[in-house]
């Protein structure tokens, strides 16, 4: 599974990296980014769903590969 942030939708609410700093990081504008290549284990995918729900812009998705 693959964790993806749609940069066009992100407006820098910062919920993802506040909740899950292992999976997300912030840039100098406060926008969120996926750590590394975004590949998720099953356990990580479970955690990542919290960020999917928390993002006010619906900018985060988990894609099945």
């Amino acid at each position: 599974m693959q964790l993806v942030i749609d940069d066009a939708r992100c407006t820098g609410n910062g919920r993802c990296y506040a909740l899950l700093p292992d999976l997300f990081t912030d840039d100098e504008r406060g926008h969120g980014h996926v750590v590394g290549d975004g590949a998720l284990s099953d356990d990580q995918a479970e955690a990542a769903r919290r960020a999917v729900v928390a993002c006010p812009e619906d900018a985060i998705t988990i894609k099945d590969q």
Binding site: T11, G12, G14, G30, V53, A54, C55, P56
Partner: protein, 395 residues
Amino acid sequence: MTTPTTFRLVDAPMALDRTAGFRFVSEAGEVFQAADGSWVLTSAEAVHFAHRHPEIFSSAEAFGAAGMPVPLIPVAVDPPAHRKYRQVLDPMLAPRVINALEDDLRAQIRDLVAAFAAKGECDVVRDVARLYPTQVFLTLLGLPLTDRDQLVSWVETINEQSIPGGTAEPVPAVVEAGMAMLDYVQVCIEEKRQHPGDDMLSRVLALEGDDAWSNDDVLGLCWLLTLAGLDTVTAAIGFTMLHLARNPELRRGMLADPELVGPVIEEVLRIEPPAPNTPRVTTQDVEVCGVHIPAGSPTILFLATANREAGRYEHPDDIDLAQADRGHVTFGGGIHRCLGSHLARREIRLVVEEFHKLIPEYEVAPGFEPRAVWPSSTLHLASLPLVFPAGGGPS
């Protein structure tokens, strides 16, 4: 075509119980026209739609014509020009910038709390919430903290007298405070031009060439930061402490597990948004949740009701830390997402952490009934007296 209802926002019963007040709004409908002709969007779907279509729901039209002496930068700007301002401003209020200020900001709130910790009583609004956001603003802009009380006085005069839906006649005291505050900011700008520092104001003034801001733009930014960034945080601190005071179980659970500070803050922000609604004006005919709204309509995005929508939350009207991840639109959404949201969250967190280090046990002063001021430009508590064991220090 829907006919206007008899709905008036000023009639919402907010003072003692926001649940009743916000229900008054949501029960009027998902999308409806109020008695004054403005349109009100109350559902999460309707509010999200407006946030994601800033080209249809103009912020510039809503904030531009309000008799402001300078343009409110950047909220009174629509795309595409809006982007230019946010690209400059977002990095100045990003979490990593606030991290660098945190030790200073923490020491400041520690001092404010220490001043009354031994007395056995305080008024959270008077002694903390009114003062701290202005200190943080002055710190961010590299201005002396000794300006605090004067700035608080101007901002309170302007905000207290500027009741939405009130008289269109300018109130003399507001005009006077507004002019004095703009004069003050202008002097600060001149000083920063002469002696730039490592602060937000100096960084904006250092922009050059095509990126340089006009003097009015810089004034407008300071105007927005003071009028939108101070009393909102004052309100949020008041509501956070109100719920912690009224709910010892919530408070003790949070003190036993510091991981819960974030969820507590998010849940209070969700159910008690200091800016429960925000204005827009439609630029074209639009259909929202099946309701037609004509072009040129003043429209109110009701954030507070979107935050309490049944179906999105298991306990929409209550603090439930298990649903804190579900988020809220207290800071708005889309391109106009509150510029100061990261700073606001940090301020509230620092207040919660430092207050409880010195005063872990307290309650609302017996017999006092906390009341929210409504109608008001910012929904806030006028006063929140607390009592606690005198002598201070954790027991």
